[in-house]
C-alpha cells in the first residue's frame, strides 16, 4: 500500500515536471512516473496458451514479441528505458487467465498488459483490468468485444475484427464468383458468427448452406457432407488452423473439391501443413492441398519474403538468437511489439497509465507500421486495423489478388486504402512524437 501511495505521488510530480520542462526536450530526466515504470525500465505483461490444445502456433507469438523488444533494448530502448516483457501460460483456460493476470498486475506490477490472447480467456480479465485502470492494449483476437470505450476505456483491439473481414471476403466473392453456390463452415462462437454476419451482407443470395462445428469435436464429417449435399461449390471457412486441416482431409475422403476460402486465422500454410501431416499420419505430407486456396492478409508474413518488413523481422529474429525459424506467428508478435513501441513513444517521456491510453486514442490512427491499413483508434473507437487484402496461397507463399480494402463495422462501405504501404525506418525502430 505504501508503495502505491509513493507511486501516485511520483505520478503527480511527473505530470507537473513534464508540463514545466516541456521546452527542455531531451534535458528532462526519466522518472518512475507510474506503477511498472522506473527510471530505466518499463514492465509489460501478457498471457498466452503455452501448453495445451491451443499452444501450437500461438505459443510462438510471445517469442516474436520478446525478440523485437530485445532488438529495441539493444538499440537504446524507449526513452532510455529497457522493456521488460513478462508473459505467462494460461493453457487457454479463463480460470488460469484471471489467475495469471492477477499475478501480473498485483504481484509483478506491470505498467500495462499487451497482446493477451483469446476471446474467452481475455474476456475474463477485461473487467478487472479496467477497474484497476491498467492499459489493456492490442488484444490478440478479432472479437468485437474489445471495442467498447464506454465500458472498457482501457481495452484496445489490434487485428481487423471478424466482421469487417467477413464483409471484405463477402464483397470479393460476390464480385469474382457471382455464380458460386457458397457454403459457410463456421466455428460455433462469436468468431464464426461475426464473420458470417459480415459475409452475409454481400452473399445473402448465394449462400446455400451454413454449417457450424464445436471446437474440441474433431469429427467434421457431418458438416462437410452437409455442405456437399447442399451443392456448395465454394466453401468459406471461419475456423482455426486445426479445422482447416480437418476439413481438407474430410473433403478429400468424401471426394469433395469446392473452391476453398479460409479467413486469416485458419490459413497459416506452414502450421496447417504440419497439422495435415500429423492428422493424416503422413499420408498428406505438406501444404500442397492448400494450393489455390483463397485467404486474407493484413500484415506481411513469411509468405512474402521480399517484403521489407518481413526482411526486418528476419533480421530481428536472427539477432535474437532464439531457436527455430521465423514464422507467421512470430511476425504477428513482432508487429504487435512494433505497435507497442509506437504507443510508448507517443505517451511521452514519463507517461502514466492514462497517458498511454490517451496516446493510442490520439495518435494511434496516424501510426505507420507493418499493417497494410491504418488503425481505427480514436476516443470513440478502440478497434484495430481497418482492412486487409485477399490473396491466394501457392505452396508456402501467396499471391495478392486485390489492393488493400478498408471498411468499418455495420454497413460502412468498402473502399480501397488511400495510404501507401509504409517502409520500415532505417533503424528498424519507430520514432513517434509524444502527444504532449
Amino acid at each position: 500500500m505504501a508503495a502505491a501511495t509513493v507511486a501516485t505521488t511520483l505520478a503527480a510530480c511527473g505530470g507537473g515536471d513534464s508540463g514545466g520542462g516541456g521546452g527542455g526536450g531531451d534535458s528532462a530526466e526519466n522518472e518512475a512516473s507510474d506503477i511498472g515504470i522506473t527510471e530505466d525500465s518499463i514492465k509489460l505483461g501478457a498471457h498466452y496458451p503455452l501448453t495445451g490444445v491451443a499452444a501450437p502456433g500461438y505459443s510462438e507469438i510471445p517469442t516474436g514479441v520478446q525478440a523485437y523488444f530485445d532488438f529495441v533494448n539493444a538499440n537504446g530502448g524507449v526513452n532510455g528505458r529497457d522493456i521488460e516483457f513478462v508473459y505467462r501460460d494460461d493453457a487457454y483456460n479463463p480460470t488460469n487467465t484471471s489467475q495469471v493476470v492477477n499475478q501480473l498486475v498485483l504481484e509483478d506490477e506491470v505498467f500495462a498488459i499487451m497482446s493477451g490472447l483469446g476471446t474467452p480467456t481475455h474476456n475474463a480479465v477485461t473487467d478487472f483490468l479496467n477497474s484497476e485502470g491498467v492499459p489493456d492494449l492490442f488484444v490478440s483476437s478479432g472479437s468485437r468485444l474489445w471495442d467498447d470505450p464506454e465500458e472498457k476505456p482501457y481495452t484496445f483491439g489490434w487485428q481487423p475484427d471478424y466482421e469487417i473481414e467477413g464483409k471484405i471476403i463477402g464483397q470479393y466473392v460476390a464480385e469474382n464468383f457471382p455464380d458460386a453456390k457458397v457454403g459457410l463452415f463456421l466455428q460455433g462462437d462469436d468468431f464464426g458468427e461475426d464473420g458470417a454476419a459480415g459475409a452475409r451482407q454481400y452473399l445473402e443470395d448465394q449462400i446455400v448452406a451454413e454449417e457450424t462445428y464445436v471446437p474440441g469435436n474433431t469429427d467434421v464429417r457431418p458438416q462437410i457432407s452437409a455442405l456437399q449435399a447442399a451443392g456448395a461449390d465454394f466453401v468459406l471457412g471461419f475456423n482455426v488452423p486445426s479445422y482447416t486441416a480437418l476439413s481438407q482431409l474430410t473433403a478429400l475422403q468424401l471426394g469433395y473439391a469446392p473452391q476453398w476460402f479460409y479467413s486469416n486465422v485458419g490459413s497459416d500454410p506452414v502450421l496447417v501443413g504440419s497439422l495435415l501431416a500429423r492428422f493424416s499420419e503422413g499420408a498428406v505430407s505438406d501444404a500442397s492441398l492448400l494450393d489455390g486456396v483463397l485467404t486474407t492478409e493484413y500484415i506481411p508474413g513469411v509468405d512474402n519474403p521480399d517484403n521489407e518488413w518481413t526482411q526486418l523481422w528476419q533480421r530481428v529474429w536472427e539477432e535474437s538468437g532464439q531457436e527455430g525459424e521465423l514464422t507467421n506467428y512470430r511476425a504477428y508478435g513482432m508487429s504487435q511489439a512494433y505497435t507497442m513501441v509506437q504507443a510508448l513513444q507517443s505517451a511521452g517521456q514519463n507517461p502514466t497509465r492514462d497517458d498511454l491510453v490517451a496516446a493510442v486514442e490520439q495518435a494511434g490512427s496516424e501510426w505507420e507500421g507493418p499493417g497494410f491499413s491504418p488503425f481505427r483508434y480514436s476516443e470513440d473507437v478502440h478497434a484495430g486495423y481497418s482492412g486487409m487484402l485477399v490473396s491466394r496461397l501457392l505452396g508456402e507463399g501467396s499471391e495478392e489478388l486485390t489492393p488493400v480494402l478498408v471498411t468499418d463495422n455495420g454497413d460502412a462501405e468498402i473502399t480501397e486504402a488511400e495510404n501507401e504501404p509504409a517502409s520500415p525506418p532505417e533503424s528498424g525502430i519507430p520514432d513517434e512524437e509524444p502527444i504532449n
Binding site: 500500500m1 510471445p62 483456460n93 484471471s98 489467475q99 492477477n102 474476456n123 460455433g188
Partner: protein
C-alpha cells in the same frame, strides 16, 4: 480446518474390513481427539469444539489476509473455491466410497446460476444468489446421484465423466442465453461500506474489490467446512462410512444403500455448487473452457494428495493445486528457462510429485501422518500394558 472424525472407528475396527479402503481412506478413519480421551483443551461436545475451531480459523484467516499483499489475497480466493469443491468431493469419495469425474460440471451449474442472477439491474443479495446456486446444483446432483447409486467403480466413473464432457456443451447450444464460447462476464458485487470501514480500522489497508471477494471466498470456505465437519461426525457420516466399507453388513443393519448414496451425492453437489458460485466471483467470467474435464481431475488429485476423506487434506491439496505449479514455474524461470519451457516442465514435475506421494504416502499427506502417529501411540500403549 476442523478435521475431526468419528470416534467409532478405531484402528482395530478399521482392520476388520477389507484392507484397501482402510489404507486409502486412513485420513477419514482415524480416531479423533475426543475418542482418545487424552490430554486436550478442546471441549468434548462436537458442536462446541467445531465452533471453537471455526472461530480460531476465522481469526487466522483475517490475520493471513491482512498481513499479506493483494496478490496473495487473490490467490487465496482460488484456493477457497477449489477447497470448497474438494471438500464436497472428499465426502463423496472418502466417506461414501463413490467416485465422481463430474464435479467440474456441477461447479459450472453453480457458476452459471450466479452469473445469470448477478447480471440484472437490481441483483438479489449475494447470500440469496449463493443459496440459489447451491439449490440448483443440488438438484442436478440428486438426479445424477439417482443414476450413480446403481453404479460402481469404472461404470460410475464413466457416467460422471459423461456429465463433465456433456454439460459445458449446453453453454454452446443455448448460446443466446448462456453466452456460448466467450462466456458470461460476472459483474462484481459492490463492497458494502461496513467492510471498507472495518478493514480500515482493523489494519489500515484499503479494501479493494479483490480483497472483498477474497473475504467472501474464505467465509464460504469456513462455513462449508464447518457444516461438512459436523455432518461427517454425525450419525449420517457414520452411516456413509458403513455403506462404503461393508455393503452387506450395512444393509443387514437396515441401511438403504441407494438412499444414502444419493444423499452423499446431493451434499457433495451442494458444495460443488457453492464452489462454482465463488469461482464465478473470483474469475469474473463463466465460460465452458473453464469447466473442462481437467477441472474435475484436478479436484480428484487434490483430495487424493491431501488424503481421502479429510477436510484438512482437501484444503492442503487445493492449496498445492494453486501454489505448486506456480512455484515450479518460477523455479524453472530462475533456472533460465523461457516461459514456455517452464510451463511445460512444471506439469511434468507436478506429475512426478503426484506419483511419489502415491508411492510413499498412499493414504495422502494427512492420512499418512495420522497413520504414523497412530502406530506410534499404539506402540506406546502396548509398552505400557506390558510394563
Amino acid at each position: 480446518m476442523s478435521d475431526l472424525q468419528t470416534p467409532a472407528s478405531s484402528p482395530a475396527s478399521g482392520a476388520a474390513t477389507s484392507d484397501a479402503p482402510t489404507t486409502a481412506t486412513a485420513a477419514s478413519n482415524a480416531s479423533s481427539v475426543q475418542a482418545t480421551g487424552g490430554r486436550t483443551l478442546l471441549p468434548r461436545n462436537t458442536l462446541l469444539r467445531h465452533l471453537l475451531v471455526l472461530v480460531l480459523c476465522a481469526v487466522g484467516a483475517v490475520i493471513l489476509l491482512e498481513s499479506t499483499d493483494l496478490g496473495f489475497n487473490a490467490q487465496i480466493g482460488y484456493v477457497a473455491f477449489y477447497a470448497i469443491a474438494a471438500g464436497g468431493l472428499t465426502l463423496l469419495t472418502g466417506l461414501n466410497g463413490q467416485i465422481s469425474l463430474g464435479h467440474g460440471a456441477l461447479m459450472a451449474v453453480g457458476a452459471y446460476t450466479t452469473a445469470l442472477l448477478l447480471d440484472v439491474e437490481e441483483p438479489l443479495p449475494l447470500v440469496v444468489i449463493f443459496l440459489a446456486a447451491i439449490a440448483l446444483t443440488s438438484l442436478v446432483g440428486a438426479v445424477v446421484g439417482v443414476a450413480a447409486a446403481r453404479l460402481h467403480g469404472p461404470y460410475l466413473a464413466g457416467a460422471t465423466l459423461a456429465l463433465a464432457v456433456g454439460l459445458p456443451g449446453l453453454a454452446l447450444y443455448f448460446r443466446d442465453f448462456l453466452g456460448g464460447e466467450q462466456g458470461l462476464t460476472v459483474s462484481s458485487p459492490d463492497r458494502p461500506d461496513w467492510f471498507v470501514e472495518g478493514i480500515r480500522t482493523l489494519s489500515g489497508n484499503s479494501a479493494s474489490g479483490v480483497k472483498w471477494i477474497a473475504y467472501i471466498a474464505v467465509a464460504c470456505l469456513l462455513v462449508t467446512y464447518f457444516l461438512l465437519a459436523n455432518l461427517m461426525r454425525s450419525r449420517i457420516g457414520r452411516t456413509w462410512r458403513a455403506v462404503r466399507d461393508q455393503e452387506v453388513a450395512a444393509e443387514l443393519s437396515g441401511i438403504n444403500l441407494g438412499t444414502w448414496r444419493v444423499l452423499a451425492f446431493l451434499v457433495s453437489a451442494a458444495a460443488a455448487g457453492l464452489a462454482g458460485a465463488v469461482l464465478a466471483l473470483v474469475v469474473r467470467l463463466t465460460a465452458p473452457t473453464a469447466f473442462t474435464i481437467v477441472l474435475s481431475l484436478s479436484l480428484l488429485t487434490a483430495i487424493v494428495i491431501g488424503g481421502l476423506g479429510s477436510l484438512l487434506g482437501a484444503l492442503i491439496g487445493s492449496a498445492l493445486l494453486v501454489f505448486l505449479p506456480r512455484a515450479l514455474r518460477d523455479a524453472g524461470e530462475s533456472l533460465d528457462m523461457d516461459a514456455a519451457q517452464a510451463a511445460e516442465i512444471s506439469y511434468v514435475v507436478y506429475g512426478v510429485i503426484l506419483v511419489l506421494v502415491m508411492l510413499f504416502a498412499p493414504a495422502g499427506l494427512v492420512g499418512s501422518i495420522r497413520l504414523a502417529w497412530m502406530k506410534q501411540r499404539a506402540r506406546r500403549a502396548g509398552a505400557r500394558t506390558r510394563g
